[in-house]
C-alpha cells in the first residue's frame, strides 16, 4: 500500500505539486493573518478587563461555530476566491495564539511590574519592555499550535469550495476512487504541518534563544 501511494502520487506529481503549493499559500496567508490580528488583539484583551469581558465571549463564539458550516456561507458572501479560504484558515488557527499571548501578558510576575513602575515606566514601556518579552515563550507556544491548525483550516476550506489545493485533491481523487492519491495528499499535509511547526520552533531558537526551555503551560486549544 505505501508503495502504491508513492507510485500514484509521483505519477501525478506536477498536479500534486500545484495543489500542494496552492494549499501552502492558503496556510501561510491564514497563519500570517492569525499573527497580525492575534497579537494586537491579545494586547487589547490583556490591557483592560472591560475589553476582555467584551471580546472574550465573541472569540469563544468564533470557536464554537463549525468551520465546515461557515465556509460555504463565506464563499457565497465573498465569492469563490482565495479570501474565504484564508478567513476560514485564520478562524481555525488564531484562537490558541490569542489565548497563549494573553496568558503570557497576564502571567508577568507582579514584582516585575512593580520594578518597572519603580523605574518610572509608563503603560507603553511596561508593555514593550516587560510584559511582551515575558510573554514570548507563551506566544511561541501559541504559534506552534496555530501553525499546525492552519493546515487543518486550509483543508477544511478547500473541501467546501475550491478548484485547487490538497483538500480539493483529496475530494476529487476519492470521487474517482483514486484512494492512494488521496492518501498521498494526506501524507503531504502531515509533512506540511510538521515542517511549519518546526519552522516556528527554529525561529524561536534563533530569535529568542532564552525562550526555549522556559517552562510555559500549554496554552490550550
Amino acid at each position: 500500500m505505501p508503495s502504491l501511494i508513492l507510485a500514484e502520487t509521483l505519477a501525478a506529481w506536477p498536479t500534486v505539486l500545484g495543489h500542494t503549493l496552492a494549499t501552502l499559500g492558503t496556510v501561510l496567508w491564514g497563519f500570517a493573518a492569525s499573527v497580525v490580528i492575534s497579537l494586537p488583539l491579545a494586547m487589547l484583551i490583556a490591557a483592560s478587563p472591560a475589553i476582555s469581558a467584551a471580546l472574550t465571549p465573541l472569540l469563544v463564539v468564533t470557536q464554537s461555530i463549525p468551520k465546515v458550516a461557515l465556509a460555504p456561507i463565506l464563499i457565497v458572501a465573498l465569492g469563490a476566491n482565495e479570501l474565504p479560504r484564508i478567513i476560514v484558515t485564520f478562524l481555525v488557527a488564531f484562537f490558541p495564539l490569542v489565548v497563549g499571548t494573553v496568558s503570557g501578558l497576564l502571567a508577568t510576575p507582579p514584582e516585575l511590574i512593580e520594578l518597572g513602575r519603580a523605574c518610572r515606566a509608563g503603560r507603553i514601556q511596561e508593555l514593550t519592555r516587560i510584559r511582551l518579552p515575558f510573554a514570548i515563550p507563551f506566544v511561541f507556544a501559541g504559534l506552534k499550535v496555530a501553525a499546525a491548525l492552519a493546515v487543518v483550516g486550509a483543508v477544511v476550506a478547500e473541501f467546501v469550495g475550491a478548484d485547487a489545493g490538497l483538500g480539493y485533491l483529496i475530494q476529487t481523487s476519492m470521487a474517482f476512487f483514486r484512494t492512494p492519491l488521496a492518501f498521498g495528499a494526506v501524507v503531504i499535509l502531515a509533512l506540511m504541518g510538521i515542517l511549519l511547526f518546526q519552522a516556528v520552533a527554529i525561529a524561536e531558537r534563533l530569535l529568542f534563544p532564552w525562550s526555549s526551555g522556559v517552562d510555559t503551560p500549554n496554552p490550550g486549544i
Partner: protein, 250 residues
C-alpha cells in the same frame, strides 16, 4: 532627607499604617523590624512613590513624593530579574528604561559586578545563577542608579544564613563609600543591629512605630561586635518590644 509626617495608609477597611513619623538623614542606615503584616513593605512603597499615603506627608528633600523618583532605588525580597536578559542587561535595565544610560553605563556596571564578585558572569542568564548571586545582581542593579535613597525589603530573606552574613558585610562596605540613605527591612534582629545607625521597631494592627533604637557601635562594623554589651543591649531591647510580655513571662 526623608521625612514621614504622621503618615497613615489604608487598604479599604484595612489600616496598614497609622501615624508613622520618621526622619532619615542623608547617608543614614535605618533598619526596620517588626512582625509580618505590620506594614514594613507598605512603608517602603510609600517612600518609593509606588503607593500614595491615605493621610500625612511623605517628603523627600523638602518635596512631597507623588511618584517614583530617579534617585530612589529599590531591592525586593526576590531578585526580580528579567529572565530574558543577561546579567549585564539586567543591571543596566533601570537606567535604560529611564533613558539615563550613557556611554560609561556599561563600564560602571561591569565594575560594580566585579565588586560584587560577579566578574565573568556578565553574559549569564539569571536562571544560571544561585539565589545569592541573583540577589547580588539585583543589588548591583539598584546601586548602578547611584540612588540617594536605597530601599531594601528583606533583601537577604531568601538566602541561607552564611550567604546572608557575607552579603550584609558587603552591603556595609559599599554603603560606606557613598552618600546614600538606606531603609532596610529585615526579620533578623542581629542583622538590623549589625547594619543600622537606628532600628525602627514597628508594632502590628495597625502598623505603628513602637520605638526607634539608636545603635552606637563604631564603624566599620564586624561580627566581632555581636558579643559587645552595646550590641546585646540593643538586640534585647528590640526583642522586648517585638515579643512584649511573652519574653518577660518566659
Amino acid at each position: 532627607m526623608i521625612r514621614l509626617d504622621r503618615v497613615s495608609k489604608r487598604f479599604g477597611e484595612m489600616e496598614a499604617l497609622r501615624d508613622v513619623t520618621l526622619t532619615v538623614a542623608p547617608g543614614e542606615f535605618v533598619a526596620i523590624v517588626g512582625a509580618s503584616g505590620c506594614g514594613k513593605s507598605t512603608l517602603l512603597r510609600l517612600v518609593a512613590g509606588l503607593l500614595p499615603a491615605t493621610a500625612g506627608h511623605v517628603v523627600l528633600d523638602g518635596r512631597p513624593v507623588t511618584e517614583p523618583r530617579a534617585d530612589t532605588a529599590m531591592v525586593f525580597q526576590a531578585a526580580t530579574l528579567l529572565p530574558w536578559a543577561d546579567v549585564l542587561r539586567n543591571v543596566t535595565f533601570p537606567l535604560r528604561l529611564m533613558r539615563r544610560a550613557g556611554r560609561e553605563t556599561e563600564a560602571r556596571a561591569r565594575a560594580l559586578l566585579a565588586t560584587a564578585g560577579l566578574a565573568g558572569f556578565e553574559h549569564r542568564r539569571p536562571r544560571e545563577l544561585s539565589g545569592g548571586m541573583q540577589q547580588r545582581v539585583a543589588i548591583c542593579r539598584a546601586l548602578l542608579q547611584e540612588p540617594r535613597v536605597l530601599l531594601m525589603d528583606e533583601p537577604f530573606g531568601a538566602l541561607d544564613a552564611l550567604t546572608r552574613e557575607e552579603m550584609s558585610l558587603e552591603l556595609l562596605r559599599i554603603w560606606q563609600g557613598r552618600e546614600m540613605a538606606v531603609l532596610f527591612v529585615t526579620h533578623s534582629i542581629p542583622e538590623a543591629v549589625l547594619l543600622a545607625d537606628r532600628v525602627v521597631v514597628m508594632s502590628p494592627r495597625p502598623g505603628r512605630v513602637a520605638e526607634i533604637i539608636p545603635v552606637k557601635l563604631p564603624r566599620p562594623r564586624s561580627f566581632d561586635q555581636e558579643g559587645s554589651a552595646e550590641f546585646q543591649a540593643a538586640a534585647q531591647r528590640i526583642r522586648g518590644l517585638i515579643y512584649g510580655e511573652r519574653v518577660r513571662a518566659a
